[in-house]
């Protein structure tokens, strides 16, 4: 039911930055998996952090709900259901490894996004139509 569900069709939940997306991680080799297992089995080690996105209505966007700690994606989905879906409002849920999300930094926000606020010609009110013309 919520087993291997981590292929999100259509769009990526990871924040995209002008072509700079998080690099897809290559699947671990057997040796890497064993090393990871050894690390995971250390008593009370901290599990990986996952960000949870929930969709609360048909046609609504998936929105960030919070995070959970879990061993893998299926485990993260189960934990996310118990933590962020106890009230029956959730229709769909994504989990994304927190480390896979890249984001802008607050200091860069101004130079990075400013160019967009300097282009009034991208908006309809920049243009004029003769008086009395309707539906333009």
């Amino acid at each position: 039911m919520y087993g291997d569900v981590l292929t999100v069709p259509g769009e990526s939940a990871a924040v995209k930055l002008d072509g700079a997306t998080a690099e897809a991680k290559a699947p671990p080799t057997a040796a890497e998996a064993d090393a990871a297992a050894g690390e995971l089995l250390a008593p009370d080690s901290q599990w990986q952090l996952w960000e949870v996105f929930t969709q609360e209505a048909q046609g609504a966007p998936h929105e960030h709900a919070g995070s959970v700690r879990a061993t893998d994606a299926a485990h993260a989905i189960q934990n996310a259901r118990d933590v962020y879906g106890r009230r029956g409002k959730v229709l769909s849920m994504w989990v994304v490894p927190t480390a896979a999300i890249s984001a802008t930094s607050p200091d860069d926000a101004e130079p990075f996004f400013d160019p967009a606020s300097d282009k009034p010609y991208r908006h309809p009110h920049f243009y004029k139509a003769p008086r009395g013309v309707k539906g333009v």
Binding site: L17, A20, A37, G66, R86, S102, D108
Partner: protein, 351 residues
């Protein structure tokens, strides 16, 4: 491009891509000393404008530490708060009450997780916070060191303790300057309303029941009233953190203001079900509309905070035992994930 056109176009400056950072902040990024004053001034101006501070924004180290302390204590309170009520799950008087109680106790676990999640955005590790709770070095709300002696205590906890928590948390949800904390509180408040209402319903039922049930309800009210008033923390004059938390917009109201708000809300509710609050000094101040109440025994409060309440040691021992007993579940989950990773690895290589 026609030659003349370049003259009227601005010079093309290649824009370097912004530095990519992980989504959760690490411990506040060190800023060059020279700009610290300017950054602090800008930070305080943002607070003054009512803006929310987000994980990756610059913040004074002291703001970060105060939030870690406050959110850690808050999350621990949710987790320890499961214990007094959890003790009554198997003894609930009906299936309906048992369902509500199970759902409520599960919610408290969820609330703890929302807040640990929020605290992690400040660069601390949930694992370390839980470790502090288990080691007894972190504080949690003093109220949970009192025993739940009868079934009526469970109802009064919902009515008083969750009612008091709602007063605190609603203020945080609306006004707290740290975004992740405020958002966690919005979720929590939506759920706490059910907690309070089911508690009040349970007490109203007992208050309208047999003489024995009525006595049991009144006894629980008598025992929980004063510890609930203490939940809001020391009086403003003795609260070293309040002024700073208010200045930085973490809190909007003082402990005494929130306490008064809770009393004003609760007195008419007690009157409505014919129960008496154990305070002979309680009277309505006609001029302000506030219910004036008697002196709180702050010696008792400090004794409980310092570890000498009725159940401090027992609560800590129960939490540690629960953590230890869950060890095999955590080990099984990690072993299962490792097995899946091992199986996926050769398949991926073959592909």
């Amino acid at each position: 491009m026609p030659r003349g056109l370049t003259a009227i176009l601005p010079a093309f400056e290649p824009r370097s891509p912004p530095e990519l950072l992980p989504v959760t902040a690490t411990a506040a990024q060190p800023a060059p000393a020279a700009s610290d004053d300017a950054r602090l001034a800008e930070f305080e101006a943002r607070i003054a404008r009512g803006e929310r501070i987000e994980p990756k924004d610059w913040m004074p180290e002291r703001y970060r530490r105060q939030l870690v302390r406050m959110m850690g204590q808050h999350a621990h309170s949710e987790i320890v708060g499961m214990l007094p009520e959890g003790a009554w799950v198997t003894r609930a008087p009906s299936l309906r009450r048992k369902l509500s109680l199970l759902a409520k106790v599960q919610d408290e676990a969820g609330h703890g997780l929302y807040i640990y999640c929020g605290a992690e955005t400040l660069g601390v590790d949930r694992h370390d916070l839980v470790g502090e709770l288990l080691a007894g070095t972190a504080k949690y709300s003093s109220i949970f060191n009192y025993p739940t002696l009868t079934w009526a205590d469970v109802g009064v906890i919902g009515w008083f303790v969750d009612g008091a928590a709602i007063v605190n948390q609603t203020a945080l949800a609306k006004h707290c300057s740290y975004g992740p904390y405020a958002r966690a509180m919005v979720r929590v408040c939506k759920e706490e309303n059910f907690h309070k209402k089911q508690g009040f319903e349970s007490i109203a039922t007992l208050a309208a029941g047999t003489p024995e049930q009525r006595v049991m309800a009144q006894d629980a009210v008598d025992r929980w009233w004063w510890p609930t008033l203490m939940m809001f923390g020391p009086p403003d004059a003795d609260s070293p953190n309040t002024a700073e938390l208010i200045r930085w917009g973490v809190k909007k109201y003082t402990n005494d203001e929130l306490r008064q708000r809770f009393v004003n809300l609760t007195v008419p509710q007690a009157q409505a079900v014919g129960l008496t609050l154990p305070d002979p000094a309680l009277r309505l101040d006609e001029a302000t509309g506030d219910w004036r109440f008697g002196a709180i025994d702050w010696d008792e409060f400090w004794a409980v905070v310092k570890g000498n309440g009725p159940l401090n040691r027992e609560r800590l021992a129960t939490r540690n035992a629960a953590h230890a007993e869950g060890g095999w579940v955590r080990a099984a989950a990690t072993a299962h994930a490792a097995k899946r990773a091992r199986r996926a690895a050769p398949a991926a290589r073959a592909a």
